[in-house]
Amino acid sequence: MFKKYISFIRGVSVNKLGLTGVVLTTSAFVTFIILELTRVLGFITNAYVGLVNYMLFPALFVIGLIMIPIAWRKRKRETGKSTEQLLQEQFEKRETEGSFLGSRIFRTIAIFTLINILFLSVLSSRMLHFMDEPHFCGTACHTVMNPEWVTYQASPHARVKCVECHVGEGVDALVNAKLNGLWQIISLTFNLYEQPIPTPVYQLRPARETCEKCHWPDKFYGQRIKRIVDYEYDSLSTPRYTTLSLKIDVGEADVRRGIHWHIAEENEIRYASLEDEREEMIWVDVRQPDGSFKRYKNTELVSEHESEFEDFRILDCVDCHNRATHIYEQPEKALNERIRKGLIDRSVPFIKKAALGAILPIYNDTASAREQIANHVRGFYQREYPGIFRQKFAEIDSTIAVLQSIYARNIHPYMNIRWNSYPGHIGHRGTGGCFRCHNPNMIDEEGESIPDDCTMCHSIAAYGGNTPYQYLEPVDTSSQDYIIHQYLKNEFLESAAEAKNNQEQ
């Protein structure tokens, strides 16, 4: 068989071009098989190997194959001989005996073609499969995608493939994505893309087709407790608790109230935003099934330019959950989170203060960031608290490592991604969030504004308190806080009772 193959390829290598084609095809095939075997068997895990294997070798293989008939034709034209003459010239007599279709050479060509077709179809299916892997999306365009890749891996959707949200199902989705990819390769090659990549991503698949596959809209969430711990910048990094009971779904299943009222089937919310950026609203309206609607306009926008927009939008999941996956942290929140998890040791005096000072500046590059963060924290203690520096050396060092990882996750100098480059819209701390629409400047025709009452969306069990449920504790009438305490306690209990009644009904 091998001998036969050798004689065959010798036969088709009619000139240098043909030889190159044969060598290319053969070596690409062999290397692909070897690499794929090592990958499948787990000897190599580097994603780049997969990329090379699925992109480069198949391409070389096909190019080689195309070169062979081109070389043949060229030879034919140069020598002026017929195919038959050439065949006889190139191959042994027994190979070309009989009619052309019945000859051995024809059978050989047919078998090889069949193998090639089989190989290519397996290959392309594996290639598509490979390109569906998050590894491919995250690492193929390394510099551009790295920030999203890093934040994706640290997100609650880390096990959901990129393509499930960004491409969707069906041939048209695939073609669309591949055409987009083609443009992205061009803009990457010629440096035509913006840094940071502007958001929102308009080509994202509709939430109906993506989010709602897992988070089906009929699911009734009820009230959910959210606990937030903020640590102060004092020597103890004292914890301050904020505990909210989020009224995600209240009311009855068929007449929804609460935060997910926005996505109830009977309500359609449309909005137009300044420059279509979904940050500053021009108007918001809510439509009922009978076609009636009420529109709120932003009274803060006065100039004509400000009321221009390309397209209105029908509100869906991602208008609020805009960073459900690629979550960039705010520096203070990142620190709170690490302290809460015990990754940063609160027994080191002023650790949060020192930590924030270290991660806030934007350093030139990743290497100097690592160095400067370490210098900042060590310098702070050496200068201000040399005693602590000696005593808590190990804790300070481990904090530095945590800070470096926070920085590496959130700050990406090459892509100009800094703190708050990509604000999240869930909630309203530090960014627009709910308050983009729920603010006193959004006014309807009767002069009513969209409500922004705190307890409309959440009961408050603690707000910057010393304990996580400060307002559920007994009311102390002699305390300065008793009025707010009494009010929030009553509100919490009433809301909880209402929710319970609804569930029992």
Binding site: D453, I483, L488, N490
Partner: protein, 441 residues
Amino acid sequence: MKKIFILSALLCLLVFGAGQAVDPEVAGKCMTCHKEKSPGLYKQWYTSAHGIHKVVCLDCHGAKQGEPDAYMHEGALIATLVTPKDCGKCHKKEMEEVDNSYHATAGLILESNDAYLAHVAAGHPIAILGCESCHGAKMEIDKDEYNKLSKECWPNSGIGRLNPDGSKGSCNACHTRHGFSKAQARQPEACSKCHLGPDHPQKEVYEESKHGNTYYTNVDKMNLESDRWVVGEDYYVAPTCATCHMSATTNQPLTHDVGMRISWTLRPPISIKKDNWQTKRKNMKDVCKSCHGSTFADGHYYQFDASVRLYNDKFVRPAEKILAMVHEKDLTEYPANFANEIEWVYWELWHHEGRRARHGASMMGPDYTWWHGMYEVAKHFYFKMLPEARKVEDAEINAYIDSLIANDPMHSWLTSETGELQERIRSGEMQKIYENYFQGE
């Protein structure tokens, strides 16, 4: 002393009385949202004496049906403006004192030359921000605004603000909202929001004086947060504006009527003694004597009175007379006031330079008394006012000026020899010209 304690006790009762009247359900809601949406405001209030004594949002901002600036906000009828009447529900004595004070009349400036000048020479926006910020605006109701207040007058915290409820002033002109800190109101910076600049540099004079000097050196020893703040007892290192003009001494109570210790009017072109000036001077000398001997206080007034009389007679009376003649004879080029150079010269002579001289003298600021003050008055009287007057070429006016220079011993130096004048200074003859100004109180 007793009075102070009784008053404090009464105030506390009033405070608690007010606290009870508010529906805690609504009050709790105010706090919940504002803690989040205006956290600075909330914290200022929370750490203030009001916060500690449970005086809540609605105690001050709660409004009654029918009040012109009342509006519904998140289920509560409230008013943005907190007027002295509102504060007076608890702080009655203070409200009454302020209402009787000169401060409360600051908003009635529309008829003054100052307001006229701002409106003609600058324009309405400047009158709002430049004049009314300190003096107080007339609060106009605008039903289309969310808080029912016209944007042309809100925000405004002027000390003489004309409020829709008829009251005058705004306590937070000095007691900055929402902390209403005693310590803050006791410091000179509380007054210097308005009392500074070329026309009334009280802040700068104070800074130049020994009083300001020791204050800034010892500000940490001023006991500014103390509930009781009696000079000589609770603090002693330096006086602030409040010490001399308002605060308690061992003999007199705190007053919110800033004029109770002022004997001269140093504001108008010609200074005069105020009504009851003897009592007022006695009050001020009482403050002086907390830290100085009586000869010191008497001596100060001896020197200060002479300076004011000198300014009155030597410069401003002749200048006023000259300008009056120009106006009577209709000799100005343009009819409107301030359309002619001489009107600006006269204006600055008394309104800027003359006040600087008098304020400098009253508060022991040497540089303001002379170089920023009387030096400028003299220079502009001789070399701006008189030449401008001569320009109209009126025989009577020229004769008046000539006679002033020839016959008034205070001005006749202009036509004398330098050497001769120096000799007269050395011999004390020159000083004798001003002897009369030291006569009497």
